[in-house]
């Protein structure tokens, strides 16, 4: 799937040798990856491997210190997350990018409020927004009590669902999800995985970051493994087994022993 397709249509996102320094800390030291339309790329790696940093460069939050970044074959340099949004890249950040004091509805539509009316009286139809929010949240399996409730009073998982529902609702070309399922219950997790599948079917590219190899294997087409700021390699689903992937992710650490002790159920 990898090479033959990418020759015909350029990948919707491609990065080559991306480098990112924070002061003296080297978070990414030359990472390359790409994702095409209708494909789910799973980004795997140990804690601190640089996954979040990589997707932050893709979504315009941080500017890379070096390397190339192409969207649909054309080099781009996003100066703000707005640019990425305008280019059709929607992101669920690991820290969710929500304002605790604001209501669910206002957070859901933040930055992309639908307006109506003529200029001097142009306003946002918050009633309509609330309906959309309630509906989208219901789709993901959360019945919110009141869309005007402050996001700060939601549980960790509920908050994550708001972020995911928002990204899916506004996603255009690429959907990036940074550990979306980490705080989710069983039902919500299945729902999110189903979403990813749906989004892929619609022809969007998806970048899915997770630590759960089973989740990754359930929806992913290709897997890119990061370690200490470097790419360890990219694998087609057909090329690698769940166990191999797990070992690779953990960087060969003393994983076997423990998972054996605990009955191999990780």
């Amino acid at each position: 799937m990898t090479d033959s397709q990418s020759q015909t249509a350029p990948p919707v996102i491609e990065v080559k040798n991306i480098v990112k320094h924070y002061g003296s800390v080297i978070a990414l030291s030359g990472v390359s990856m790409k994702v095409s339309r209708g494909e789910v790329l799973c980004l795997l790696g140990d804690n601190g491997a640089g996954k979040s940093t990589l997707i932050k460069t893709l979504s315009g939050v941080v500017r890379p210190s070096g390397g190339d970044f192409l969207v649909e074959g054309k080099p781009v340099a996003f100066t703000s997350p707005r640019d990425a949004l305008d280019a059709g890249i929607a992101t669920v950040y690991q820290d969710l990018a929500m304002i605790p004091l604001m209501s669910i509805t206002r957070n859901f539509f933040m930055g992309r409020e639908p307006v109506k009316g003529i200029p001097p009286f142009r306003h946002v139809d918050f009633k309509y927004c609330s309906e959309v929010t309630r509906e989208e949240m219901h789709k993901i399996g959360i019945d919110i009590r009141d869309p005007n409730q402050a996001v700060g009073t939601l549980s960790g998982g509920e908050r994550q669902c708001v972020a995911i529902a928002r990204a899916v609702y506004f996603g255009a070309k690429v959907l990036i999800l940074d550990e979306p399922t980490s705080a989710l219950g069983v039902a919500q997790t299945s729902m999110v995985l189903k979403y990813i599948h749906q989004v892929q079917q619609k022809g969007l590219g998806v970048i899915f970051i997770t630590h759960n190899v089973r989740h990754a294997f359930a929806v992913g087409n290709r897997f890119t493994v990061l370690n200490r700021g470097k790419t360890l390699g990219t694998f087609d689903k057909s090329e690698i087994s769940l166990e191999e992937l797990q070992n690779l992710m953990a960087g060969g650490k003393e994983l076997q022993v423990i998972s054996h002790e605990l009955g191999g159920t990780i």
Binding site: S80, D95, L96, M110, E113, H123, R145
Partner: protein, 373 residues
């Protein structure tokens, strides 16, 4: 094994996890309605201690006039605070804009409308500069605008001396501005006809010569109410309003969601400066003069009013209508004391105590009603 009660929640709108709340409770949950409670407390206090003339029509107008001037600043300051920034230079901006306006009229002999436009444009530009410095350098706005507090105050002094040839007071503005519609938009009183009619029919008090004691509503009050209404609408109903809350609540998250935080903040700084310029124009036209001390410490009064009105100093929460009531409370306390028999030496003690009581009461009511712990 314990018995399992498998109660699966349905997706209907009524949720068993919500207690019923009354309409009143719902209303009281709005940030500004605590300020109303504070207002009631303060009014009650004065009703018990002050001269009756305080609550006459003219008494109310004498309180509203200063409250409205403060209020225009307070609403702008509240918007800026919700957007997560401060502007300590608005007091100095009142003086500086007053100088520009006065000098344009007298020294340069410009007509009123040009003078107003020049003043507004210059104020907006200065505000935007403030904002840009804050954004580019990521220094706290407190320190940047504090520098402008000094700079603008100093420039006003220098400018006044230059404009007047050595004095710190620029007078004679009333003479150069003729009467006209534009002037009446910014000074004097509105609804004069209505009040004359009311007086003629004995509905309001009048002097022996038949002139009503209150000839109308000061225009600053009209501006105040209009601005409060407009700001409330913008905050609650428009996209820009949502961006203001977002920019103040968490600028990083807002930026990550595509809100143009820098543009919002710069706009708010310009807006605040324009509010200061408006107050300057109103007071200069009303007084016919300006001096180097105009607007002194108004920045703090504006912030106080906004905070009494329920704005969070850390940004992201508050309301324009709260600042509206906050300004009225502040005006009421500071003018109201002159209607009481307390010795003026105690003025500050009372001012402080009333402020504290008003916010405490406001807070107490809000917590009681909303059941926060």
């Amino acid at each position: 094994m314990a018995p399992i009660e498998q109660k699966i929640g349905d997706a209907s709108n009524s949720d068993e996890r919500i207690k019923q709340v009354g309409f009143l409770t719902h209303m009281m949950r709005r940030p500004e309605l605590g300020a109303v409670a504070g207002l009631i407390l303060v009014v009650t206090f004065f009703f018990l201690t002050a001269d009756r003339s305080m609550f006459s029509l003219s008494g109310v107008m004498t309180i509203l006039a200063p409250a409205s001037q403060l209020g225009i600043l307070a609403i702008a300051a509240a918007l800026l605070m919700i957007g997560g920034e401060f502007d300590l230079s608005i007091g100095s901006m009142v003086a500086f804009a007053g100088l520009i306006f006065g000098a344009a009229l007298t020294n340069f002999g410009q007509p009123l409308w040009i003078s107003i436009i020049i003043t507004m444009l210059l104020a907006a530009a200065m505000g935007a500069v403030n904002g840009q410095i804050v954004i580019r350098t990521r220094l706290p706005s407190f320190i940047v605008t504090l520098a402008f507090l000094f700079i603008l105050r100093g420039l006003t002094l220098v400018g006044l001396k230059w404009a007047t040839g050595g004095s710190t007071q620029l007078r004679g503005i009333g003479e150069v501005v003729g009467d006209g519609l534009l002037k009446r938009l910014f000074s004097g009183v509105a609804f004069q006809d209505l009040f004359s009619w009311l007086a003629a029919h004995g509905l309001i008090e009048k002097f022996d010569n038949g002139v009503p004691k209150v000839t109308g509503v000061p225009v600053s009050v009209v501006w105040f109410i209009a601005i409060a209404g407009l700001a409330t609408w913008v905050l609650l109903r428009t996209r820009s309003g949502n961006w203001v809350f977002a920019a103040g609540g968490d600028p990083n998250s807002a930026r990550n969601s595509g809100v143009p935080v820098d543009r919002v903040k710069t706009g708010l700084f310009a807006l605040t400066a324009c509010a200061a310029a408006l107050v300057a124009i109103i007071t200069v036209l009303d007084a016919g003069s300006t001096d180097a001390r105009r607007g002194f410490q108004k920045e703090f009064e504006a912030i106080i009013a906004a905070v009494i009105g329920g704005c969070l100093l850390t940004g992201g929460y508050g309301s324009a209508i709260g600042a509206f009531f906050g300004a009225i409370i502040f005006g009421l306390v500071s003018i109201g004391l002159t209607y009481t028999k307390f010795d003026s030496d105690w003025f500050q003690v009372f001012l402080g105590s009333m402020l504290l009581l008003a916010v405490l009461f406001n807070n107490f009511i809000r917590r009681k009603v909303t059941g926060e712990r």
